[in-house]
Symmetry: C2
Subunit: 333 residues, 2 copies
Amino acid sequence: MIKIALDAMGSDNAPFSDVEGAVLAAREYGYEIILVGNEDLIKKELDKYKPVPSNISIHHASEVIGMHEQPVLSVRRKKDSSIVALGNLAKEKKADAIVSAGNTGAMVCSATLKCRLLPGIERAGIGIVMPTMKGPMVMIDGGANIDAKPSHLLQYGIMASAYSEYILGRKSPRVGLLNVGEEESKGTGSLKEAYGLLESSGINFIGNVEGRDFFIGDCDVIVCDGLVGNVALKVTESVAYAFGELLKRELKSNLLSAIGAILAKNSFRSIKRRMDYTEYGGAPLLGIDGVCIIGHGSSTPKAIKNAIRVAGEEVVKNVNQHIVEAISGRKGQ
Amino acid sequence: MIKIALDAMGSDNAPFSDVEGAVLAAREYGYEIILVGNEDLIKKELDKYKPVPSNISIHHASEVIGMHEQPVLSVRRKKDSSIVALGNLAKEKKADAIVSAGNTGAMVCSATLKCRLLPGIERAGIGIVMPTMKGPMVMIDGGANIDAKPSHLLQYGIMASAYSEYILGRKSPRVGLLNVGEEESKGTGSLKEAYGLLESSGINFIGNVEGRDFFIGDCDVIVCDGLVGNVALKVTESVAYAFGELLKRELKSNLLSAIGAILAKNSFRSIKRRMDYTEYGGAPLLGIDGVCIIGHGSSTPKAIKNAIRVAGEEVVKNVNQHIVEAISGRKGQ
């Protein structure tokens, strides 16, 4: 049976969301779920969900790496933290996949150190699954590696293409390189070199894309370095938040609008659902010799449940095998 | 009297928006406006606005640089284009400010070549004025220079701080450096170096900010390189567009929602107004020894009018003088 280790101390309101998400996933998907973290706290939380599914177990870890701790240092120092324990469980093959909604940098560091990288991969990248007007798209890298070389960008494209195909069900995913303009001549020297590499990679490379191509949905994978990807992701969250807040305030500002808002309630809900990142279940850390899903700190129990679902799918569909084949196939060309 | 030269061939539906914007601005602000472009086309368009304000004149330029032409090449080859003519008018002091909604790269190139840079400035940067929940903010650079060095980022911060203070009326503008996290230790070597430079610059540097700080409004200036800034700007436009489209579709999808939308009409309009970039009148190209405002290709007549207004303000408030003083004052420290 597939075994998934979950950081019970990960999310902003851990262990509540994490444990509830685990219980929901244990019931729905039947995976064996190992809750990693402070045993007393986890037991206390689990007590709320009686009967506790028999496919849930606990792996004690006494320490927690906080959201604002320095990734490399904290992983080195807190050897009994839940995040380091997750890396060890993956390394020792006691878990087929690991999931955390905790400190992203620390999880990247722990998973990369313990699992090592797949053959042919030089850097792991975070794949951010984003809603668009035509279904989900993967942006890679969301911030694992802020100083990406052209070869890293090439590998991101190949890895996210495999993820898009096998997990999101896209046939021959369209891969774009994020740049300041569509012309091949655009961008820094590094981007121009990445363009050439992607063009001869064998994947469905559609050329440069721009920030305006997010959310339109004419691209299945957007490749960029971790700095740009991190900014793009957070700007998106910021615009969506500001828009939502303004809408709420405005709709409460007068009676007619308030009545209008009540009548249009279902439409607002439908939009919220379509834009709801929790459906996609967190971000895969691609390139490691293992399966690791990183959730948002503000993950709800539903987001945790979906992160566990996606982790299981990545194991079942053997995404890493497809990545290795695509990378080595390209090399052999 | 202040003389402003406007690219009559600039916007996507030139000369219509450009000429109407010029007429509106000539009437409202009384500036002397020089329409630059094909004389016949401009005359034909001006005929619609009889009586044509006496403070509007025409400067003939036979060529047009298209939106997708390569900036440096097109400026070199099309010597009688409206964009090159604008640069010349600024250089020869026949115009106090120049405004174009045409090819951004070509305008940056023409303005920089002809006007040269202010003393102490190594690169011009595009300041993008963006709405936030607490008023307008300036992001710099929007894409003039995609390979920014730490000293360029420092100069961007100083220039946009002056713009925010003298044009947007912010006292002691809060300047943030766009990064992947708030801690001083975050980011590439180049960003860490820029952090140190900004910290000892004498402006109100508040440290690193993240993509999530856009639109919140706790920052008056966000400094970043042109690649990141360009992506952030276009992602913003993309999210706003997608959100608007989804809202429109959803609200038409059933009768109750449609009625609700009609009742809440004023609220939607109010949000649109608050998020309306056309109010801010285009993006200043900061760092050149002259005043240049670059408008969005899709500028409406109102956006053109506001771009002319802002160009005039930059002249009247002598923003360049303040920039030079801030730069040299820092150097003398």
